[in-house]
């Protein structure tokens, strides 16, 4: 039954895509991490292009931004002999380093579970965790821990009702990207939703890169680690000696 449904949707998707399309704008498609980088606010706006009359159902818009995925080791502490020790661990195969979802309505009401699963929109769907060891009883709680910890750090965000949709044609929202971003391509997806189904989607990439001094130091540390290490030592010693000399001169002069 489910397979049939999925097949139907696969057939239906391109039909809808042809009738309604997203024209997207970003306040910036590039985030430069400079020395005084303190997070970035990105304005996402767009319009819906259609060549057919306006359908009767309500239109909703969901926007998801995902940072580069990485595998994670999640460890759980337990009390052993009176002290708290890491006892269990689960490897999460792929979790985005940043994930923000903005919607124009409550997620549960505007999107079906199956559609969420298919497009991997909500945060739990965006994290892939397979192959947890058999002896771990509740592997799901490890994935939940990833979400909880990252939400506390502002790396995972859910903003329901934050996308404004005007006249079923224009939409806009803004996403605050925190200061502790990692470099990479941030995949930005926009979904148009009607009758709890995705009728059209659009993808673009926000490029998050270190620039200037940050870029130079990072590249040097990776490509010429010995030079970088010696330079670090030299700068450290020069500063140490310099400050010491300055103090002595202050004292004598």
């Amino acid at each position: 039954m489910r397979i049939l449904l999925a097949l139907l949707m696969l057939l239906a998707a391109p039909l809808h895509a042809a009738t309604e399309e997203v024209v997207l704008g970003l306040s910036q498609n590039r985030v430069s991490i400079t020395t005084n980088f303190d997070g970035s606010n990105i304005l996402i706006f767009g319009a819906i292009k259609r060549e057919t009359p306006l359908p009767e159902s309500d239109l909703h818009v969901i926007i998801a931004i995902a940072g580069p995925s990485e595998s994670l080791m999640v460890r759980k502490k337990d009390r052993r002999l009176g002290i708290w020790v890491n006892t269990e661990s689960v490897e999460v195969d792929a979790a985005p380093s940043f994930y923000a979802v903005a919607t124009s309505g409550p997620m549960k009401q505007i999107l079906t579970e199956i559609e969420d699963l298919r497009h991997k929109i909500s945060i739990p769907r965006a994290i892939r965790s397979v192959g947890a060891p058999m002896e771990i009883e509740n592997a799901q709680s490890f994935a939940e821990a990833v979400i909880r910890i990252r939400k506390d750090n502002g790396l995972y965000q859910v903003h329901e009702n934050s996308v404004e949709v005007a006249e079923q044609t224009l939409f806009r929202t803004s996403v605050q990207m925190p200061a502790n971003l990692t470099e990479g391509d941030y995949l930005t997806r926009v979904f148009l939703v009607r009758d709890r189904k995705v009728v059209s989607d659009f993808e673009t990439v926000i490029d998050v890169r270190k620039v200037g001094l940050e870029r130079w130091l990072y590249t040097l540390s990776r490509e010429q680690p010995l030079v970088y290490g010696l330079m670090s030592l030299f700068i450290a010693i020069a500063a140490g000696w310099g400050a010491s000399t300055a103090f002595r001169m202050l004292k004598s002069g």
């Binding site: 994670l72 999640v74 990833v146 502790n180 470099e183 990072y218 290490g229 700068i235």
Partner: protein
């Protein structure tokens, strides 16, 4: 003023880092400890990834100790000969320490063992120093003007072969104990991400019976070379030395160390020791509480396959 650290990949307040560096620098100058045992946990606390904190701290210790060593060399309170012997042991120990560290990492319990190391070492040393200093202060009060009497029997330390004369310290002892101390400190430095002064200073005082005045300068002398070596190891294998973080910490640190060295020369040896003992016990208590109390978050995230 927020500043983005290129290697740590986090944004932190620059003045917070300068302040931390200054505070730990004062302690470094006063006691001759690198301050790593304080700074490393403080860096974890402000959100620097542990691997970066440990590696960068090694670099920062080089700088803060360098100005301290210069100050001590000028006052001729460094036993260079003893320093070189300790250094040879230290380099061997640091290399061994990296091997041990990687082994523990493969077991997946490196965090716990590092913390336990901290609690045990800081607890034992802090308590010993505290008791010893209290006794010394009481003795000094009873008979002012007379130096504290030295124990006549030094036991096994005097019985060992390969004796060497350490003129600055006024000692004629075997090179084996200082070499072993150097190795032990090197291992601990690599595992715990510290300079190791808090182990070396008491060991020099209580095991080698070196005069307190040369202990501080000599330990700093050994520390700059061992931590310099560790910095290069981290930079070339783990890529975790953050020069921006190190520079901010050391700008605060070198200024603090100069102030600390001056405070140190004004205080009496017993007072210095009791202050250091209290500091060590406070840090130990904090780490022990973290292990014993129920944590607010039972789960922790780490990079898979790596650290």
């Amino acid at each position: 003023m927020q500043i983005y650290l290129p290697i740590a990949e986090v944004s932190v307040n620059a003045f917070l880092l300068l302040g931390l560096g200054g505070l730990v620098g004062i302690l470094s100058g006063m006691f001759g400890v690198g301050g790593g045992f304080l700074m490393t946990p403080l860096l974890f606390f402000i959100g620097i990834p542990p691997a970066v904190a440990v590696a960068t701290e090694a670099n920062q210790i080089v700088a803060s100790s360098f100005s301290g060593v210069l100050a001590h060399l000028r006052r001729k309170t460094v036993d260079l000969r003893m320093g070189v012997v300790l250094l040879i042991g230290g380099l061997v120990g640091a290399a061994l320490g990296v091997l041990v560290f990687n082994y523990l990492k493969s077991l997946g319990q490196v965090d716990l063992l590092v913390r336990l190391c901290y609690v045990v070492f800081l607890g034992v040393i802090g308590a010993l120093m505290f008791v010893e200093s209290l006794r010394a202060i009481r003795k000094a009060k009873r008979s002012p003007g007379t130096p504290p009497s030295r124990r006549k029997h030094r036991g096994w330390v005097t019985a060992l072969p390969f004796k060497m004369r350490f003129r600055t310290s006024g000692l004629y002892i075997s090179v084996i104990p200082p070499l072993l101390i150097g190795v032990a400190v090197g291992i601990l430095a690599a595992i715990m991400g510290v300079g190791g002064g808090f182990i070396m200073v008491p060991a020099m005082i209580y095991l080698l019976h070196m005069p307190t005045k040369v202990v501080v300068g000599t330990s700093l002398f050994q520390i700059i070379f061992v931590t310099g070596f560790t910095t290069l190891l981290h930079a070339t294998t783990n890529f975790t030395v953050d020069i921006v973080l190190a520079v901010l910490l050391l700008v605060g640190g070198v200024v603090g160390a100069q102030i600390g060295t001056r405070i140190g020369t004004r205080l009496k040896a017993e007072q210095l020791r009791i202050l250091l003992a209290i500091m060590v016990l406070v840090v130990c208590g904090k780490l022990a509480l973290d292990l014993l109390l129920t944590p607010s978050e039972l789960y922790s995230l780490g990079a898979a396959g790596g650290h």
